[in-house]
Symmetry: C2
Subunit: 312 residues, 2 copies
């Protein structure tokens, strides 16, 4: 009945020297994904990035960095601990683990405070909460190591809650609702031109898309369930600018509320503007060299809505 | 480390005839409170209402109705089931159970969907959610029985999240922070004139107040903890008008956000206005004769806040 859309996410980079992460091969990445209690469903290989589409979200592996995103009841921390052990803590340039507050925290195997204890036993790090605890918020851990991100090393996340039912319907299986239909009708294949795309339509609903081009990726995960509907969009390709990108993505899903998360090198003047009213904003420079901003926005409504009747 | 301030609440009334609820006596009410995993700490007897101050919140018992509010990790549904059995389902005029979304749902013994199953096995009823599932929301069950509330049968709840630290500090034990200090400095003893008051300052922090006068009560529960700070105010005495009352209560606690919940007879034109901007509003006429409105409001902030660093 309930599916947990909001994700956990890992991003890490390794220092130059030693084998490329991509060269570790698919069986190795299968074992990492398995540690998180997920499976690889398909993959595409790009010039600079291998993109794995998972039973719960996505894994992008480049030579020197990786991003792994998992939803549902996955245990991403176990995969993080395996990676720290296998790659060697000293080889890490940075490691950031984040976790959005869940819709149904009571069905999760652990909360962020549990995660933080496990991570800190393996590698000293700092823990943060972006946003108020009683409201939409993002937890974050980062390895306690100084790092200077490259110029242009930016990531944008748009986390959307309460998707417009007409937009959500496109991602629910049914007569004619194939991947081709989604490709033509949803608008998410065309967010950036020239990307290689891999996607998966889940039974009976749910949809994931991975897209890569050179050193860039974008990914979309749709949880269209009426209770707990959610979509995440993430990319490291900020063309044609984060504000334009936010506008395009929001116009597709028309959510009741959304979080906008921007990672950029500390001192980078880039701003991500969202046209929806802001409920709360948090900004923090991390000791690992990134400045992270988190804003929660909402779509104003006219007049009160009726209560939702819950079936027996 | 974490205390769950947001409450569960029961309100029920019995048909005329049969013994008064007050006449059931303190040992009986001790057994009801125990069923919810709480204890009676003290009590005051009024003209029309007995007010019990509990280890987790409050119980008000009049001859024909009662209101029971419990916070923390209590199991209020067990007390509700005991009352349905002891009083007899047929004798109930109405029964409403509600539950605010928790700050730390993972530490609760059950969620509302579990509650709803147990309640419906004992008495057919409807379930509702006021507000979006990913946002502040209120769950509600009511016995499926037609009822016509008396004119003026109104209840106002103000549920406040993220209390101003200076306001919260008054309710944390320390040198000079006695009940008398709270009485003089907090402003909550003077919310309505002429009420008999009972209160309790918890170790090491937390504060509860029960106040009664004739057929009226008001109650305040303060969770001043830095993580998950929360205050609830509830009353069935809407003088000098709900909007004035909201303004006075908010001026004491200056929360980052609040929910305003108003119960009134269906068709009653009363409105509760809150000066803070509205994020979302829900209104529903229940088959048991009440119209319930739920609004979530927030205090606008200027500029982004820093992230909260979480200690090891």
């Amino acid at each position: 009945m309930f599916f947990e859309g909001p994700e956990k996410k890992l991003e890490l980079a390794v220092a130059p020297g030693g084998p490329s992460l991509r060269s570790l091969g698919r069986p190795y990445w299968e074992s990492v994904v398995r540690a998180a209690r997920a499976k690889i469903l398909s993959s595409i290989e790009g010039e600079a990035i291998d993109a794995y589409l998972l039973s719960e979200s996505s894994l992008f592996v480049a030579d020197r960095w990786l991003t792994m995103i998992t939803c549902g009841r996955t245990d991403l921390v176990s995969a993080v601990l395996k990676l720290i052990k296998d790659l060697g803590r000293k080889r890490l340039r940075y490691l950031i683990y984040e976790r959005k507050n869940a819709h149904f925290q009571e069905y999760q195997p652990a909360n962020f405070f549990d995660d933080l204890k496990r991570l800190r036993r393996a590698a000293p790090g700092k823990g943060y909460r972006f946003g108020d605890g009683d409201d939409h918020h993002l937890f974050m851990y980062h390895l306690d190591r100084a790092h200077v991100p490259d110029a242009g090393d930016r990531t944008l996340e748009i986390l959307m809650h309460g998707i417009d039912p007409a937009a959500a319907r496109i991602f629910i299986q049914g007569p004619g609702h194939t991947r081709d239909y989604i490709r033509e009708r949803s608008g998410i294949w065309d967010l950036r031109p020239g990307f290689a795309v891999d996607d998966h339509l889940f039974e009976p609903m749910g949809y994931s898309l991975n897209a890569i081009k050179g050193p860039h990726y974008y990914t979309v995960h749709v949880t269209p369930q009426a209770i707990g509907s959610y979509v995440s969009f993430e990319t490291n390709c900020l063309e044609p600018g984060p504000s334009r990108l936010i506008e395009r993505v929001l116009s597709i899903f028309r959510p009741r509320s959304c979080d906008v998360v921007l990672f950029k090198p500390s001192g980078d003047g880039l701003r991500a503007r969202c046209a929806l009213p802001l409920k709360s904003a948090t900004r923090q420079v991390l000791d690992c060299g990134y400045e992270v901003s988190f804003g929660h926005h909402f779509a104003p409504r006219v007049g009160p809505a009726p209560a939702l009747e819950l079936s027996a």
